[in-house]
């Protein structure tokens, strides 16, 4: 039986949107009936093993690794959803966008009041992905099909959106689910 496949990823963010996915509570059992999870932190599958119907990405795009993951998702997913404010608008991460990258790193690794760094070096290890010059939204980097804002979007919002998409119905979100103040 071929169930639609879903993949999820967290870029630069707090992982709160994934928590919100889990917040659908017992509906997760129903979700498992509806779909199979492929690459996702939820099941710890690291690489795509097949093409997916839906890709869900939380977090902003702040590092070269984020770009790589986004590119990979775009390549393997029919429909790509940017989930949450960081993915849609950059979120908290984008606060650094008004400050040059060099100044940010110097404050973090050289000049900050609590920094202990006798070598006076900004880390450049190959294992640490390079930061981008600024934080990008997901749609600045790859084509995004749908955006679900919210910090995080509530479990009901995610559930309603997913089910509508899987059943190929237009998405109707009641006012309570899209009001954020």
């Amino acid at each position: 039986m071929d169930k639609p496949k879903i993949a999820t990823a967290a870029l630069t963010g707090c992982f709160g949107c994934h928590m919100s996915i889990l917040d659908i509570d017992d509906r997760i059992l129903k979700l498992i009936e509806l779909v199979d999870f492929n690459k996702s932190p939820i099941n710890d599958i690291k690489e795509f093993t097949t093409r997916c119907r839906i890709g869900i990405v939380e977090g902003a795009c702040a590092t070269e690794e984020n770009v790589e993951v986004l590119k990979d998702f775009r390549k393997h997913c029919d429909t790509l959803i940017a989930l949450g404010d960081c993915a849609v608008m950059g979120g908290i991460n984008a606060m650094r966008n008004t400050i040059p990258l060099k100044e940010c790193l110097e404050e973090a690794y050289l000049n900050g009041p609590s920094v202990y760094n006798p070598e006076k070096k900004i880390p450049g290890d190959r294992e640490i992905p390079l930061l981008l010059d600024r934080v990008y939204t997901c749609s600045e980097v790859v084509k995004i099909d749908f955006k679900l804002p919210g910090c995080p979007p509530s479990a009901d919002t995610i559930w309603t959106a997913l089910v509508a998409l899987l059943e190929n119905r237009p998405l109707e979100l009641p006012y309570e689910l899209i009001k954020y103040d």
Partner: protein, 607 residues
């Protein structure tokens, strides 16, 4: 020095009766005297006029001819309108920069000359052109630019730049300008006035009752010549019927729409008749005062117009008991603008006449109910007043017969761009674009912009359409683009213009136009995708629907009309990017800083 300024500023304010209505005049005089309106001057003016400082400062910063920073004694304002760009603006600009040793927005070290750009100054038929203080210099070339700088350095007198005088009243001793009229086709209504007897129409009007005059205009089916085409008789009737101790008639001589320069010629050749028309309108609506709002760019006509008014006063055509008509008192004053496109919008024009920023006002109440200083006011275009004269001269029936079904009479068009004979053409309404292009010598035109930047751009398939209020409406501007032009660059210029001229009050206009232009530039740079075109369409429609005044309601037109009429141009520039990175995202550029800071290359994106 400080003391001297204090007394000068105070005197200027006193000359204007310390009346805040004259703030704009006061600021212009202070600017001319000191090269700027400094913080100290702002304080002094606010104190003298007894108004909040912020009112003065916001007015100073609103108009492009006023500045808080010191300008040179001479300011060269080179017009960078699209037509000027097509006629060699770049080369002339380079010559000015080199010869002066400064860039645009700067002043020479000796404080003598400033160099600036300015949008359309109403000289598209003799582009490239520039304003040097009030003086107009036209048909600029690189040699001429260098010569201008030399003469200015030598004499310090912009008047010396005028070597050969223009035709008609441009050579009048109070004008002495090199501007050419370029009247190519005189029509039946407006330019025929040159042959008709002056003040006969006024005499006829005064022999009728005001209501009869209005009825005559209504029978003629005259519609406003500014472009919107509101029935003039109806406007007069509303203003007449409105409650108010005083009423005002205002002549909108602020043609700032890129490519419009017909009022320049009317003001030069028929000023007496325009004032006659205003007097008739004043009689019809029951006004005792008229204001002509003259755009700052046409300052070179100011003395000439003032002298014309003075003569009319002497001849008993203005003032108490006009033409002996008991209890009809009427006079006209001229209000000079200071460089703001938005002031052509009637409610913004009223704000400007009141002395303040040219901010549009909410409608309703319409000016006919509450206009200048809250009194019922009627604002008409320069050309409308000319048409009124012909109607009274030759009869409403005659006028109504001219033109097309919904648009009676003629229209004065100002034609510029890629054509053999740019200039002024007066045609009865209903003329096809094809016929017009033939007459002006532009049969190979790729596109025609009808109605200025806020109008619409049409292509060959629409050349059988006609100029009238119900098909292709225009305040007079016709800009022609030949096959060698890039449509998207023209559109980009228009958007740049609207961004600059937006007053900033409504978010859809202030922000939306910037977003529109960003997407347009994305498309121009070859990085656009098909969905961007839908986005442009939707955003454009939103801006139109959600803006308060005519500027925002029309600013998306260049994009919307070209999306409609030149869709293949856009379609050829966009491509679908489904896999891979967005074409606008440059990973190498995004990593450059990091690679420099860490001193290592990316391992994921090798280059």
């Amino acid at each position: 020095m400080k003391k001297e300024m204090e007394s000068t500023v105070k005197n200027i304010c006193r000359d204007s009766g310390n009346d805040k209505i004259h703030l704009l005049d006061i600021l212009r005089r202070v600017q001319n005297q000191f090269g700027c309106v400094s913080d100290e001057a702002i304080d002094l003016i606010a104190k003298s006029l007894n108004i909040p400082r912020v009112d003065v400062e916001s007015t100073v910063t609103f108009y492009s001819f006023l500045s808080k920073e010191p300008k040179g004694q001479i300011v060269i304002r080179l017009c960078n309108d699209i037509i000027d760009r097509m006629n060699g603006y770049d080369k002339v600009a380079k010559a000015f920069r080199e010869e002066l040793g400064i860039d645009f927005g700067e002043t020479t070290k000796d404080g003598k000359i400033s160099l600036e750009n300015t949008p359309c100054i109403g000289m598209c038929d003799q582009a490239p052109a520039a304003l040097v203080n009030g003086e107009v210099v036209t048909y600029l070339s690189t040699d001429r630019a260098r010569e201008i700088v030399k003469i200015l350095r030598l004499t310090g007198n912009p008047k010396k730049l005028v070597q050969r005088l223009g035709d008609g009243n441009n050579a009048h001793e109070l004008v002495k300008s090199m501007v050419q009229n370029n009247i190519r086709r005189a029509g039946e209504v407006v330019f025929s006035l040159a042959e008709s007897q002056p003040n006969i129409a006024l005499e006829k009007a005064l022999a009728m009752s005001p209501v009869e005059v209005i009825n005559e205009v209504k029978t003629a089916r005259l519609r406003g010549r500014g472009g919107a085409g509101f029935p003039t008789g109806m406007k007069w009737e509303f203003t007449r019927a409105a409650n108010g101790d005083k009423k005002y008639i205002i002549c909108n001589a602020d043609e700032g729409e890129p490519g419009t320069f017909k009022d320049r010629v009317l003001l030069t050749e028929l000023p007496d008749r325009i004032f006659e028309g205003m007097t008739i309108a004043g009689y019809a609506i029951g006004a005792e005062e008229g204001i002509m709002y003259l755009r700052g760019e046409y300052e070179y006509l100011y003395n000439f117009l003032e002298a014309t008014l003075e003569k009319r006063r002497k001849d008993g055509l203005l003032g108490k008991n006009v033409m002996g008509k008991k209890e009809f008192n009427f006079d006209i004053r001229i209000q000079l603008g200071a460089g703001a496109y938005i002031c052509g919008e009637e409610t913004a024009l009223i704000s400007s006449c009141e002395g303040f920023r040219g901010d549009p006002k909410n409608r309703p109440p319409f000016p006919a109910q509450r206009g200048f200083l809250g009194y019922p006011s009627c604002i008409n275009n320069v050309e409308t007043f000319c048409a009124v004269l012909s109607i009274l001269d030759k009869g409403a029936g005659w006028f109504a017969e001219l033109g097309s079904r919904g648009s009676a009479g003629t229209k004065v068009l100002s034609v510029s761009g890629d054509c053999q004979s740019p200039g002024i053409y007066e045609y009865p309404f209903g003329i096809t674009i094809k016929k017009l292009l033939k007459d002006v010598g532009a049969e190979d035109a790729m596109a025609v912009q009808v109605g200025g930047a806020s109008g619409q751009m049409i292509g060959e398939k629409d050349y059988d359409r006609i100029i009238c209020f119900d098909d292709l409406a225009t305040g007079g501007s016709i800009m022609i683009f030949g096959p060698q032009r890039n449509i998207l660059e023209v559109v980009d210029y228009f958007m740049e213009f609207f961004i600059e001229e937006s007053c900033g009050y409504c978010t859809p206009c202030r922000v939306g136009n910037v977003v529109l232009r960003n997407y347009l530039q994305k498309i121009i740079s070859g990085k656009g995708e098909p969905s961007d075109l839908d986005f442009l369409q939707k955003l454009g429609e939103n801006i139109k629907a959600a803006s308060r005044c005519g500027l925002g309601q029309t600013s998306p037109n260049p994009i919307l009309s070209t999306l409609k009429n030149f869709h293949p141009v856009y379609a050829a520039m966009v491509r679908e990017e489904t896999e891979g990175l967005q074409p606008t995202f440059d990973i190498q550029a995004a990593l450059r800083d990091s690679e420099a800071i860490t001193g290592r290359k990316s391992v994921l994106f090798i280059h």
